[in-house]
Symmetry: C2
Subunit: 140 residues, 2 copies
DNA sequence: TCTTGCACCTCTAGTCGCTAGAGGATGTAG
DNA sequence: CTACATCCTCTAGCGACTAGAGGTGCAAGA
């Protein structure tokens, strides 16, 4: 029966105070009960839910995906096929993003290495940006 | 003296029409001259500039960084130290992002592989999200 | 010449996931 | 009783666009 304030909930879950209120406002977290003075009073279950959301956000899941995952969690008799599909889709996204960033890294390294540190008109950084044909990787 | 319409400029530079107007509105691209009927009329130099911006955006440079790079390009007597610093900073960011995404990838793979495709109450995907302590990597 | 239809114009508002700030109420320690 | 931190609601802002409304320009076919 000890009341958990929003600050305490934020500290324990690792979600910032305004973000907790934001999650409540978009219906990701049920509105908690209030104290006499209208201050939010959270339950331990709310802390778990916030930690779940935070971890999912750190993994890059979008809010709508998290909403679905939370619905699944609330109803544990369901098949986990949806959760699996969401995680798989996210994995594909992450792999794609890594591939793309590796290409960018290569291009940036080339730019930086070949910069003679002279004047701009001899600078490869500027030059490569100005003429995509000069760079080794092609997008799409 | 052939006039380049905004559609043509978009097609040639690979930047979308509304985005061209947006770049003009934030001063990244000088306002072009207009036809009698008030339609934008671009020069070939504008196409190059748009292509430069597009390429830099693909490399993940922020608009303000691109603004600096464009200023450097416009003034080729300057030292390219600034351009070099911007590219180097971006390289560090990209490397950091790749490291972080690799960790996420590992965690997602573990989640997906250990999903037994049964009911949600046996689902690792949900479980791992609910309890960060179970996962192999730690953030921060 | 007329008309069809696409491309263009401006302007406002929406996207996502927060974050910052104003202006005020509450709760607690000394 | 007085500080002072923490809480409340509300609105607006961030970056980098994107979408839509409501209207105008322009080139080509009938």
């Amino acid at each position: 029966m000890k009341k958990i304030t929003i600050g305490e909930a934020a500290r324990r879950s690792g979600v910032k105070v305004p973000t907790v209120r934001y999650y409540e406002s978009i219906g990701l977290l049920a509105a908690p009960s209030r104290s006499e003075g209208n201050q939010r009073s959270f339950e331990p279950a709310d802390i778990s839910r916030l930690a779940f959301i935070r971890h999912a956000r750190e993994l890059g899941f979008e809010i709508e995906a998290i909403r679905t995952l939370l619905t699944l969690q609330d109803d544990p008799n369901q098949s986990c096929a949806s959760a699996d599909a969401i995680a798989k889709a996210r994995l594909v996204e992450v792999e794609q993003r890594i591939r793309s960033l590796m290409a960018l890294k290569a291009e940036l390294e080339m730019m930086v290495e070949s910069c003679g540190h002279g004047r701009v008109d001899q600078c490869r950084v500027i030059e490569v940006l100005a003429d995509h044909g000069q760079c080794t990787h092609s997008h799409h």
